[in-house]
């Protein structure tokens, strides 16, 4: 195989590293999306036998939209494990999943990342984090008179 062909093949089968921000996202729907990238089904060159899966780095897995204070690594990991195809490739594909609780990612992993996956749902703003002036000039149908005292 000539040098050009070999370089071309590396480029075509290049393994991508994706970043996924799991803040306020449903872990099970996210798992549906992540499993496609781990299996390589997001590429037109996909074939079950050709190992063309990508790496997925999940950040903010502590803030997934799921009650519970325990570090949610196991839920998201279990969800992805559950959604992956039930075959021998699953272990290898799970190895390409990296989950971190906060958005701090070790440098050797972050330098590999070359693309970002879109979130499934827009991130809502928490009530206590709405900026002050927006609350003040939000249109009101009715307001108490200035000197009214709320006991």
């Amino acid at each position: 195989m000539s040098v050009a062909r070999r370089v071309q093949q590396w480029a075509t089968f290049g393994r991508m590293w994706y970043l996924y921000d799991a803040r306020w996202q449903n872990p099970f729907h996210s798992a549906d999306k992540i499993k496609l990238y781990l299996a390589g089904r997001n590429k037109p060159i996909y074939h079950p036998l050709s190992d063309c899966g990508d790496h997925v780095v999940v950040i903010n897995s502590l803030d997934i939209a799921l009650p519970g204070m325990e570090w949610e690594k196991r839920i998201l990991r279990k969800a992805v494990y559950n959604k992956l195809d039930k075959n021998l490739l699953r272990r290898g594909r799970m190895a390409r999943l990296h989950i971190f609780p906060y958005d701090k990612v070790p440098d050797n992993i972050l330098e590999n990342v070359s693309a970002q996956m879109r979130q499934l749902r827009p991130v809502p703003i928490r009530l206590d984090q709405i900026p002050e002036e927006e609350v003040v000039n939000f249109p009101k149908v009715y307001d108490w008179p200035k000197d009214h005292v709320i006991s």
Partner: protein
């Protein structure tokens, strides 16, 4: 036929033509054909008929093919073809009529010497791609290579419909606008 037996006895191959046959010019691949038959035996009657009726026509139509006749006593008739790339094909013509033999001779004439195997693909190309094969970076914006991750705008979900709050704010702006102007 299970695949192992298939591979054990016959195997599988890809489409190929000898020495880029047909790129510049088409060259007939049949080099030599031998008709073996018995003069007396009934099983070679079809072969003898073929030789009387059609062999001359065959030889005239295919000047590049060497034709051998091999009468052998008490041996069943058969056809033996040899091709330019060294391939050989043997077909028994025992008790076959001259029409059948005519068909098998035509089959041998149009072959190219490779053994008959299961084709894995029905197409072959030396230049699969003209625009360059797909790569993960081909359809992507080039700035993703130099972007600092995590990137907010790359990550935010695609908003389709507007939320109630946004609509309320837009309506209120119009409403306030009307109040000020009137």
């Amino acid at each position: 036929m299970t695949s192992q037996t298939w591979n054990r006895f016959w195997g599988s191959t890809f489409v190929k033509a000898p020495l880029q046959n047909g790129v510049g010019r088409y060259v007939q691949q049949l080099q030599r054909i031998t008709f073996k038959f018995c003069k007396t035996h009934g099983g070679s009657r079809g072969m003898r008929d073929f030789i009387e009726k059609d062999l001359i026509e065959f030889a005239r139509m295919n000047p590049g093919v060497v034709v051998y006749l091999k009468p052998r006593r008490h041996r069943s008739s058969c056809l033996k073809a040899e091709y330019l790339n060294g391939g050989e094909e043997y077909i028994s013509a025992h008790k076959q009529s001259s029409e059948e033999i005519k068909k098998w001779v035509e089959y041998l004439r149009t072959q190219s010497g490779y053994s008959v195997e299961r084709l894995r693909k029905y197409q072959h190309t030396d230049r699969p791609s003209i625009q360059g094969p797909w790569t993960p970076w081909m359809h992507r914006d080039q700035c993703i290579n130099i972007a600092e991750y995590p990137q907010e705008e790359l990550s935010c979900a695609v908003k389709r419909e507007k939320t109630a709050t946004q609509e309320l704010l837009e309506k209120s702006k119009i409403f306030v606008g009307v109040n000020n102007s009137s």
